[in-house]
Symmetry: C2
Subunit: 187 residues, 2 copies
DNA sequence: CTAAACATGTAAGAAGTTACATGATTAT
DNA sequence: ATAATCATGTAACTTCTTACATGTTTAG
């Protein structure tokens, strides 16, 4: 079975929900996968074209009078199989996540203690904002009346939990590292 | 002051150490920045060319008899200023880290419980290996005789600590999520 | 002797972002 | 009216990886 890139699989996955057009795929990603996946129109439309070419989906064009054409994509059997096949495949290797703050810290020898500290404080603040965003989204899902009937909400909460845990760990690292720099004052 | 990409700044930073050639820059990254930064020769050599063009470094070519030419790069005053300027600048926004496992989990509705579980177990195993690697490197640095005189070792330990903490958090998330799936058995 | 390490580079292609281009509909 | 949202798409550009091309030196 042919391999595609993750962006293609992400779109294939979204097409299993009620999102059927390029525009609504973008919305879905911005609303639901935002904290661990993003995508631009510059990728979505060409990828949809590829998906149709590869017969993983069929496109139904509805040209209502006056309105511009709207393209609705429906997964084919082949498309569903391709998606399932990818879902089963274990992750090959953990990605190396480039981290700008670690890079700056690493060359911190060329900077004053004060500047390193403010760099870390700024980073910590951004992490705390992100953490709060995750908590807010989580609360919104839990309080949403249909939450126990909606099959997606459980998965959504899992991904949020991941975000919360790793963000929390980063915040704690900031605090620990900041303390080291603050204590260096007297040395 | 002109802006460059992070890869350029990383190389500028490495040129402040004793690494002066494309080959040794690659080695330095593979040995020291490996867990949060990587780079290929296909980027290094063109970037070095750019750095010289922009007068951020000068190249000294030593052509020993017989041996192939070796290019040694030395930062100029302008190069040092450019690096320092970047170091000071706070991170603009936290990057969205694409996460393949979360993407697969999100579409887990289309998979059996068993397959989701083995996906998570495989991921957890990889994370545990990574964690052990970090611990080993940390021990090697701490036990290395010159560790308190080497100014780099402190920064190295900070970046390792970051890796350990975030990896640990991911492992804990795997355990928590796995438990949820294992308990779903009876429902 | 031969494999690994030293050493420098290019070319093709994949993946992704940003800006541009166009136009309808709906809410304020 | 006019701003926001709906809706689709392309082109240029940046970044990065992989494979290729070439040749020397050193260690086992």
């Amino acid at each position: 079975m042919k391999n595609y890139n993750d962006t293609t699989y992400a779109i294939l996955g979204i097409l299993t929900t009620n999102c059927r057009s390029g525009y609504s795929i973008k919305q879905f990603i911005d609303q639901s996968l935002n904290h661990f996946w993003k995508i631009s129109y510059g990728q979505i439309y060409p990828t949809l074209k590829l998906i149709v070419q590869e017969e993983l989906a069929e496109v139904h064009t509805s040209s209502s009078t006056g309105k511009p054409d709207k393209h609705e994509y429906y997964l084919t059997e082949k498309g569903i199989e391709t998606l399932k096949n990818w879902l089963e495949k274990p992750i090959e290797q953990l990605p190396v996540e480039r981290n700008e703050i670690l890079l700056k810290l690493f060359f911190g020898r060329f900077q004053s203690r004060e500047k390193t500290i403010s760099l870390l404080e700024n980073y910590k603040e951004k992490l705390e904002n992100r953490y709060q965003t995750y908590v807010s989204i989580e609360q919104a899902i839990i309080n949403y009346p249909d939450n126990d009937t909606d099959p997606d909400s459980m998965y959504w909460l899992f991904t949020l939990d991941y975000g919360k845990r790793t963000t929390r760990a980063s915040i704690e690292w900031c605090e620990f590292t900041l303390e080291k720099f603050l204590n260096k004052e007297d040395s």
